[in-house]
C-alpha cells in the first residue's frame, strides 16, 4: 500500500511551549468556548496544516489517538459518581470521539466522511491502512490527524498506555494530507497489514541504509529510539523526516509483533 503526502503539520508540547487556546483565539480567530484542551490541540494542528496546503471540501478526515481525552472522562466521572452532580452538557459532548472530528471538519470547511479511530496498538499505521482502503474507493484526498494529549497528572495516561513510570510522555498533534496522486507530493509512504517477527525485522534492517527509528515499545530492537513517548509518535517521525528531506523507516511494536512504515522523500 502506498500513499503520497501533499503536506504536513507538527506540534509537540516538549518542543514548543505555547498557550494553544490563546493562539486559536487571537491568531486564527476561532471560537474556543465549550471545548477541551484535546479539541484545541487538534484544531491547532489543523490550522497549521491549512496554512501549508489546499484543503478541499470533500477531503476525508481521520482522527486517531491512543486513548482520546482522558481528562473529560475523569471529570465526568467525578461529577457523576463522587460529587453526585448531573453531567455537564459540554463534558458529555466532548466525551464523544467524533466531537473532535466535528470541530476539525468545521474549522477546515470540509464535509467529507470523518472517522475517529482509537487504539494503543499500531495506532498510526492501522489508521493509515483504513484511510488507504477508503480513498482507493473514493479517489479523494484524506487528512489524518494523529493526536495524543497527556492527562494531568500523567499517571492515568501511562497506565492506559502500559508504559513505565519513568518514561516521559508528551502531548503532540501531527497532520498529513494524503493522496493517491503523486502530483506535487513531497513524500511517499509505504506500509501494509503484515506484522513481522523480531528476527524478520532484524534481517530486513541488515540490508537497510536508510535512517531507522522505532517506538520505545520496540525494546528488543537495536536502533534509534525517541527517549520521549506518545502513541502517535510515528506521525511525528514522518513529519520530522520530511522536514529534513530524509528517507526513513519507522518500526512500531505491540506484543512482540512489528509493523513497518517506509518514507521516501520526493523533494
Amino acid at each position: 500500500m502506498k500513499l503520497y503526502i501533499k503536506n504536513y503539520s507538527s506540534y509537540r508540547s516538549d518542543l514548543e511551549d505555547i498557550d494553544i487556546k490563546q493562539v486559536l483565539k487571537q491568531k486564527y480567530k476561532l471560537d474556543t468556548r465549550r471545548q477541551d484542551d484535546f479539541i484545541h490541540l487538534a484544531l491547532y494542528g489543523a490550522q497549521l496544516l491549512k496554512e501549508k496546503t489546499v484543503i478541499h471540501a470533500d477531503d476525508e478526515l481521520y482522527v486517531t489517538s491512543a486513548y482520546g481525552d482522558v481528562d473529560v472522562v475523569q471529570r465526568t466521572n467525578t461529577y457523576v459518581n463522587k460529587e453526585k452532580q448531573p453531567v455537564k452538557l459540554f463534558d458529555f459532548i466532548n466525551l464523544l470521539g467524533n466531537t473532535t472530528s466535528y470541530y476539525v471538519a468545521r474549522s477546515l470547511n470540509i464535509s467529507g466522511k470523518n472517522i475517529f479511530q482509537i487504539s494503543d496498538n499500531f495506532t498510526y499505521i492501522n489508521s493509515l491502512i483504513s484511510l488507504y482502503a477508503s480513498i482507493k474507493n473514493s479517489q479523494k484526498d484524506a487528512i489524518l490527524c494523529a493526536i495524543d494529549l497527556v492527562s494531568t497528572p500523567d499517571e492515568v495516561s501511562k497506565r492506559v498506555l502500559g508504559v513505565k513510570e519513568d518514561i516521559e510522555i508528551v502531548s503532540g498533534v501531527n497532520y498529513q494530507k494524503f493522496s493517491l496522486d503523486a502530483k506535487d507530493a513531497i513524500a511517499e509512504v509505504e506500509f501494509d497489514i503484515k506484522t513481522y517477527s523480531l528476527d524478520e525485522v532484524n534481517t530486513m534492517l541488515k540490508k537497510e541504509n536508510r535512517t531507522v527509528l522505532s517506538s520505545i515499545r520496540c525494546m528488543k530492537l537495536q536502533c534509534s529510539k525517541e527517549s520521549k513517548f506518545f502513541e502517535t509518535l510515528a506521525s511525528y517521525a514522518l513529519n520530522s523526516a520530511m522536514k529534513k528531506n530524509e528517507d526513513m523507516i519507522y518500526i512500531d511494536c505491540f506484543e512482540e509483533k512489528y509493523k513497518i512504515l517506509k518514507l521516501k522523500s520526493l523533494k
Partner: protein, 362 residues
Amino acid sequence: MNAYINTYELLCNAGDTKSLMEAVYSKESALVIDNSYIEDATAGLGKMDYEDIFSVMDEVTAKVLEASNLENFHKTLLILGSSVGGMQECEQIFYNENSFKNIDPDRYSMNALSDHLMKTFHFYDTRALSTACTSSANALLLAKRLIEVEAYDNVLVMGVDGLCYSTVLGFYALSVLADKKCTPFDTHRNGMNVAEAVAALLVQNVKGSDAIELKGVGASSDAYHMTNPDPEAGGAIASMRDAIADAGLEIEDIDYVNAHGTATIANDKVESLAIEKIFGKNVYVSSTKAITGHTLGAAGAVEAIVSCEVLKHAMIPPQTGLEELENKNINVPIQSIKMNVQNIISNSFAFGGNNTSIVFGV
C-alpha cells in the same frame, strides 16, 4: 472484490437475534421504564441482564465463530465500534471506591473492548472506532473497503455499548431522553431511549450459502451543528445517495429503509425529510429502536443484523408505537408487509453531522 455477511449474532434487551425479530414483527417493545439512573426522574431504557459487558462480548463472538466457516479468528481483523468503550466498568469501580486507583487500564479506555477480544480470540489485528452513534456502521463501512482492497479476507465487525451513567445522564442533560418508551416518527414523540447491546457480523470475501451482500456504503459529515442535524437534511441525503451509488443500484431498487429513527424531535424530522426527498412514498420506512432503544455505538451493527433478517424473512417490519405519523410524505407501515425484499438501506447518524448509510441485499 465483494463483501458478504455470512453469519451474525447479537444480544440486546429483546434477547438474541431470533427473539429480537419476533419482538420486531409482533411490535412488542423490550424497553423498560427505569428510575435508578436519574434522581427524581424516570427514563425509558433498553436494559440487558448480565455480569459484565466483556463476558457478553465473549458469548456473542464465540457464537459467531461457531456458526462460521472458520476454525479460529487468527487471520481475521476485528473492527469494533463503541461510543464509550470500557466506561461502564470504570464507572462502577469509581462509584464504589471514589478513586481511579483500582481501575484496570486494560478495561478502561475506548479500545478496552477490542483489546479484550484480541486477547481472548487472538484476532490478526484490531481497530476500535468511536464516532458515537455511527461507530459500528462506520466499522461495517471500513470492513467493506478493506475487503475491496484485498487487505483482509475476513473481518468481524462488532458494535458494543453497555449502559452507563455518563450516557444516560448526558442525553438527559441534552433534554432528548424520553421518560417513556420511544415512538419514532410519531407527531407526539418525546425523545429517545438509551440502550445497550452487543452485535457481531462476520464480513467475508466469499459468499456463504445463507449470505447477505454488503452492497454499498456511504458517509458524509455535514458539520452543521454539534448536536443538531442540518435542517435541510443535506448530510443524510448525501450518505444515502452515496451508499446506493456505491451499491451500483438506483433509488427505485431500494425496498425498505431501516431508519436511524431515534424518536428525537430533530433526528426524525430531518431523517423523514431526507427520505421524502430521495424516495417519496415509494419505499417502506421503520425504526426498530422502538423495540431495542438506541444502542448508541452498537446501533449500526444491531440494525445491520435486523436488515439481514428482514431480507431473509422477506417481511417489512412495522413501526412499533406509532399513532400519528408526523411526515405524511413517507411510507411508514404499522403492520408487517410480506413481500420480495431485495435491497435495504440502513441509516446511522451521529452528533456532529456524522452520517453513515449502508445497503444490504440478496
